[in-house]
Symmetry: C2
Subunit: 843 residues, 2 copies
């Protein structure tokens, strides 16, 4: 960002702000770091629209947030229009952009219809000068107004008769980062923490400042910076000054800082022998800790608490309730204005899977609904959008309808824990839109989720939105260049959940890649299809993501959900699949919903098919509305999804030359990987169900791969066959790899097809505990070589590590000898699965 | 280039060749390193044209050059068409590309019309298979044929009925590099030597190999690798093995290596007490040295000799002639097939400037014409294209018409020594085209220069082209991303001087930047105008480049040419300007030309105006055909040229998004610099002539700069005024700089114009002996800051170091205080010349 940071740091703060504003004029490679705030130069005709804009920007007041607003307007106008606005303070002395809170703008009529964080963009004469006015309900509103104004300019909108009020839908618009103090991020897929390293807050917090700016630009106002599985050290006396440095970095952008805390902290690090929430010493401990924090961080946001969940200790240790737990902390924060986010993700992960009545989905409602009304007014129950855990498809959590006298916030996930971990394209706004618009029919009235969680339905004082984001040190924040659309969409929906996913992705694409119609159409189309595509090859009909739920949450792992206490059961067996959650014959979960919704889910006939297996157990031969059986739907949807993933590659290739080369190449690499891994998914899931059900694919695809040559069937020198577990994660259940003693191994086979042009896919395994090297030869001619140095979440052969190298445009003749040499490295033994050879004519 | 170089080096050579062929498939940032050999993927419709191409390429023979040809075809087809051709040897066993010398291709009719290095592209059936045949007269011809074939594919040409013979116009198609053994390059503007470092040949010669490939791709066949001002060490016994390594790197691409040698070597490093060319010991020394070289480098090309020139010792020391000198070396090389390039750049640089008959332009002809017929058949007289030294405009050297029984080669310059040093855009093909097409009218027959130097006119056995190139370690070879067009054009003209500059630049642009019509049109237009533009602000009417000829050869320095022995006189004084070279009243140089040409130049009326001042001295009031006086033409042409340089920036900006960002930004930076430096040139030249002639610019521009605020007229804190020498290289002859004691200096002035949007240009000096820092504020607001860290050829304030920082889009109001802070560094004392403020409306 800053080319002369060293020189800059010696200057005053006011100067620093101006300097940041200078940077967009210079040329940078498109790394993705700027995200949707590129402020790329507009074309001349669009610039012409803005020729008569004021030449200066004045702020009415003097605070870090107002300075950020002024700096941002200068920066944005400079980038897009090539003009450096003069920076002024106080009432305008010439035609100007005027930034201030409503009451401070001279001559502006007061209006009561602008709520907290809202703003009014208007124009008018002040002191005789024509001005464009950004009036905020508060200073944060001014900042949001500036971003809105810049977005209008980026989209080329007319500012002539500006008169627009915007305000956020809900007061709580937060993000959570699951960052550990050692710098690792739980379920983070874009590098190490921007906050922490090696047990401390980072010295250089420039990325934290830039993250805060990104968050502010989409109207977000709070950030919890550490993992919900919290390190108790975060509350240590000597750590608080470090936290204060982070809060200082977030503050100029209107972002409140919060931290996750261990509920057991009074005991684990506080020196007490108890953490019983009703114990006076514990009450006092929390009170004193809060006071200590607020002395150093006056605008501290509060605490996030994960208790009695997945090994975290909680109030149950003393027979107390979550309300007891939340309130003891909330009361300590109350006088300082802080809040407690108490997570509803409380469930028993030692459930007896043999009991057909047991159901993890019921846990949140059972734990929290009885406590409705028992929570203090500065407690917010943070509820995951579905009853399980961020699966690719779930119904909404019934707990949203179970808390009428309690503040709520919905917890969404920008980090794609179960949806491809930013290696697969999965734009989640369409899912979130469905969740937020879902009508719970509480008391048989229209009660969409968004109205409930925002506090509107039951007139709760606070409520709103939380998303787990987990940006990292990767230059482009989230790893996949297209993944930032999820962060953008989250912020936009938290600001206005009535926005549609197509509108949001159109905005994001224009700001991120420019307004070339082909670019906008192609990327929007890919993004809007991507969730359904990912769903169709990973977990159709509401079965949940059929992944390895025990470790990676990434590749295929159908059986990982079953026969354990974690409760993500899909109950697939020889005859059928699905969790019967009906009242009549199942776990009774359906009864947690208001009656209209419950009635819909109770009946197989009225349950939407995309959630069929979430609510009902059916035989594989059950016939869907499409007239397909469930088993054939599973096969078909996996083939269609994998095919669609391949189409993403072709769609992206049509953009070559229409966007910058750097992001083009980075995105293409991810999409090509996804297309290959979608086939790994397809084959693993289909083969598992074929083996389990014994019912063949009517189209004859599953189990038949005429274009493949299995590695274990090749002529092997050094390589040894190995059984893969689970077997469906390698073709025919087998692979080959070098034994520990081998320096180099070779697999050879003869091509038997007719002469022609072929695409050769080498399916191999890329673990993260070694960097094997591969070479492919046709006859004596080396045609490709590569190093298996991706960082996939896998230390062994299987669905997480399976990947492919595509070698296109190969001329092959009958009898050609194809030879693969593998050089193993450390624990990665140059493992190979198969080679697939397809004629180019068939693409 | 190679992502896995380390792994690669352990493989066999044949494999290495194939590996290089793999790389274009991978994505690289566009650094310019690939130059015109990018082999960018063709669009799908163009690819379709080539769907039925053969799938393999076979070579008939086994040599490094044939392997290069095969590798290149694989690489090019893979890059453009995404297909990896099978590599084979011997007669085709399937439909194939067949590469071989004419006699080796089975069934191919023999034809006598293909000369050395020529090739025949055709198609036909061999052994029953349809083949595309690249048949060379020799192996080099095969290589050139492959490049021609790939160029056809890159341009989307149909290969269906291929039948085309091409052959080079002349046998000598060489480049010279003026590289010193310490790694510096004399008149090199793109970094350090790719051949040498620290007194030795580089360990890593990968760039030499890639340079050889570039040269081969345009049909060049020889390279002299060291400075003509040669280090005697280059002939030392222990250096020869190092030279052999370079020859090894060049050989696979058909490039013969030669070296420049000191003529005095027998004495300076050979242990003799003489270098008299007629001394038997000297004769023997050269013979033995040649034998020694050819033992290690069997295809060694020969020697380049600069003798009796600019301080280099020569045969005159012993009263011998250049023929004696050239022949003694030529005879030593003869039996091995080597040649001597003897440079005609022999002149007295201690000429008495007061003698109006003296004329450096006469030197080459006077020295060499009398020796015509005295040179051995393996001597080539290497003649600069003009009689002076690569000025922006010269007539052709009369020596071309003065050697009928002697081999010649024309010496051109790709490195832009006097034409902007790759910081200014100057495409030289239009100049070279004029030179090569110039009809000398020898014996009143049509005798264009190209026919003479190629040996055609006088049926000489050898002859042709040499260009000084001076590529360096800069990633893009020549520094300016558009400068490689000159190397490309040189190669193409050496191959076929009947090609036109527009044809060449169209080819180059398509290969280098792609075929977007806007890109092709814009870049072609800029390139084709650029020589004239550079001429018009640096040396109009044939006055020569009015630069500092004593040191940098870069910025303006009108008086540097005068009153010294170097003989680049333009004779400008109070009354008039121009060198009278007529027979009647001048130096008599004109008489060196054949009579028709001499007659044209003898008369003021028939001399082309672009060469007026080269041949005639005229008063400033002399009226040109345009009805302008000479002095007004000087003013007008400098203003028009500087304006046109500014237009290059705007033209380039129209390509944003049409080419890759990296080369876009790098080129834009150079063009913006050029636009600023063109104004430095304009003002220096115009003010010098105003001062000297006393005749005002009728348009009132020269000497009047109402938008400028001189630094010395600002309110200075720390800064001190300083006189600049020569005075015309700073505005009003003065600048300001920090005294040695100052840590920081400030210059302040008040803006007095009306409120509005302005462009502020800060004119400052960027020396190469320090990196000053500058900050500009309007009021308290920092609006720009930068470090003066360019590497201009200057250690002091003046026309070489003068440069500008443009700050666009500034809002200014009457009374605004503008403040510049300068922080000096080492010998560079943050020097400032002036600030110019112009309304944006006036752009």
């Amino acid at each position: 960002m800053c080319r002369h940071r060293l020189a800059r740091t010696v200057l005053l703060i006011a100067v620093c702000l101006c300097l940041n504003a200078l940077s967009p004029l210079r040329l940078f490679a498109e790394t993705g770091y700027e995200a949707w705030l590129r402020y790329a130069p507009l074309d001349d005709s669009t610039r012409q629209k803005y020729a008569s804009l004021p030449a200066s920007v004045t702020i009415l007041g003097d605070s870090p947030v107002l300075h950020s607003a002024q700096e941002e307007l200068i920066r944005g106008v400079r980038g897009m229009l090539g003009r450096t606005l003069g920076a002024a303070k106080g009432e305008p002395k010439e035609s100007a952009f005027v930034l201030g809170t409503v009451g401070n703008v001279p001559g502006l009529r007061s209006r009561s219809d602008i709520g907290a964080d809202g703003f009014w963009l208007t124009s008018g004469r002040i002191n005789g000068f024509d001005c464009i006015i950004v009036a905020g309900n508060n200073e944060r509103g001014v900042l949001y107004g500036v971003f809105a104004l810049l977005s209008k300019i980026a989209h080329g909108e007319n500012l002539a008769s500006l008169d627009e009020v915007q305000q956020p839908y809900a007061p709580i618009r937060w993000v959570n980062q699951w960052d550990n103090l050692d710098g690792r991020i739980e379920r983070g897929y874009a590098g190490r923490s921007i906050f922490f390293d090696n047990g401390s807050v980072r010295t250089d917090l420039s990325r934290v400042r830039d993250y805060a700016r990104l968050l502010a630009s989409i109207g977000l106002n709070g950030c919890t910076i550490n993992n919900v599985n919290a390190d108790p050290k975060v509350l240590a006396d000597d750590f608080l000054p470090q936290l204060a440095r982070v809060a200082d970095a977030l503050r100029p952008w209107g972002i409140q800082m919060a931290i996750s805390v261990q509920f057991s902290s009074p005991k684990t690090m506080g020196g007490l022998d108890t953490f019983d929430p009703l114990d006076p010493r514990v009450i006092d401990w929390w009170r004193k800790k809060a006071e200590q924090i607020y002395q150093q961080i006056p605008d501290f946001g509060g605490f996030v608490v994960k208790a009695d969940s997945e090994g975290q200790l909680g109030p149950s240790a003393y027979g107390r309730t979550p309300a007891d737990a939340a309130n003891v902390i909330a009361r300590a924060l109350k006088q300082h204005g802080g809040v407690v986010f108490y997570r509803a993700f409380v469930y028993n992960h030692h459930l007896d899977w043999r009991d057909p009545k047991n159901d993890r989905a019921k846990a949140a409602y059972e734990n929290f609904h009885p406590l409705d009304g028992k929570f203090d007014d500065n407690v917010i129950i943070q509820i995951k959008h579905g009853p399980i855990d961020f699966q690719v498809r779930e119904p909404v959590s019934p707990l949203f309808s179970g808390l009428e006298k309690t503040n709520q916030a919905i917890e969404l996930q920008v980090t794609q824990e179960y949806t491809g971990q930013q290696r697969h394209l999965c734009f989640l706004a369409p899912m979130w839109e469905e969740v937020l618009d879902f009508d719970l029919r509480i008391a048989n009235h229209s009660t969409p989720v968004k109205e409930v969680i925002s506090g509107r339905t039951f007139r709760r004082p606070i409520g709103g939105f939380v998303a787990v984001v987990n940006v990292g040190m990767d230059k482009n924040w989230l790893g996949h260049p297209l993944a930032m659309a999820n962060l953008y969409a989250y912020g936009r929906l938290a600001w206005d959940p009535n926005l549609s996913a197509p509108t949001i992705v159109d905005e994001w694409t224009r700001l991120t890649f420019g307004s070339d119609p082909l670019v906008v159409k192609t990327i929007s189309d890919m993004q809007l299809n991507s969730w359904h595509v990912y769903e169709s090859y990973t977990g159709p009909l509401g079965a949940g993501t059929l992944t390895d739920i025990l470790e990676s949450h990434y590749g295929p792992g159908v059986e990982a959900s079953e026969r354990n206490g974690w409760g993500q059961w899909h109950r697939a067996d020889h005859d059928g699949i699905g969790m019967d959650r009906t009242v009549a014959t199942g776990t009774g979960f359906v009864a947690q919903y208001p009656s209209v919704v419950a009635k819909m889910y109770e009946s197989l006939a009225s349950t939407p098919e995309e959630l069929l297996l979430f609510f009902h157990h059916v035989p594989y031969t059950h016939v869907l509305r499409s007239s397909k059986t469930v088993i054939q739907h599973i096969y078909d949807s996996h083939y269609e999804g994998a095919e669609h993933a391949q189409q993403f590659v072709e769609q992206w290739k049509s953009l070559r030359g229409h966007i910058d080369d750097v992001r083009y190449a980075a995105t293409l690499a991810r999409l090509e990987y996804q297309a290959g891994h979608a086939i790994v998914w397809r084959d693993a899931i289909c083969n598992w169900f074929l083996r389990t059900s014994g019912i063949a694919d009517t189209k004859g695809r599953v189990g038949h791969y005429p274009d493949r040559v299995e590695a274990e069937a090749m002529q092997l020198h050094g390589y040894e066959p190995v059984e893969v577990s689970p077997p469906e994660t390698a073709s025919q259940g087998k692979a080959v790899q070098c034994p520990p003693s081998a320096q180099k191994c070779t697999a050879i086979f003869q091509f038997k097809g007719p002469a022609g042009w072929y695409v050769l896919d080498v399916q191999y395994f890329d673990q993260n505990n070694g960097e094997s090297k591969f070479q492919v030869r046709v006859g004596d001619q080396l045609v490709d070589e590569w190093t298996a140095n991706d960082h996939l979440p896998a230390t062994k052969i299987g669905g997480d590590s399976s990947t492919r190298r595509r070698i296109p445009g190969l001329a092959l003749r009958p009898g050609d000898q194809i030879r693969i040499d593998g050089v193993p490295d450390q624990a990665e033994r140059a493992p190979l699965d198969y080679v697939e050879i397809r004629s180019e004519d068939r693409r």
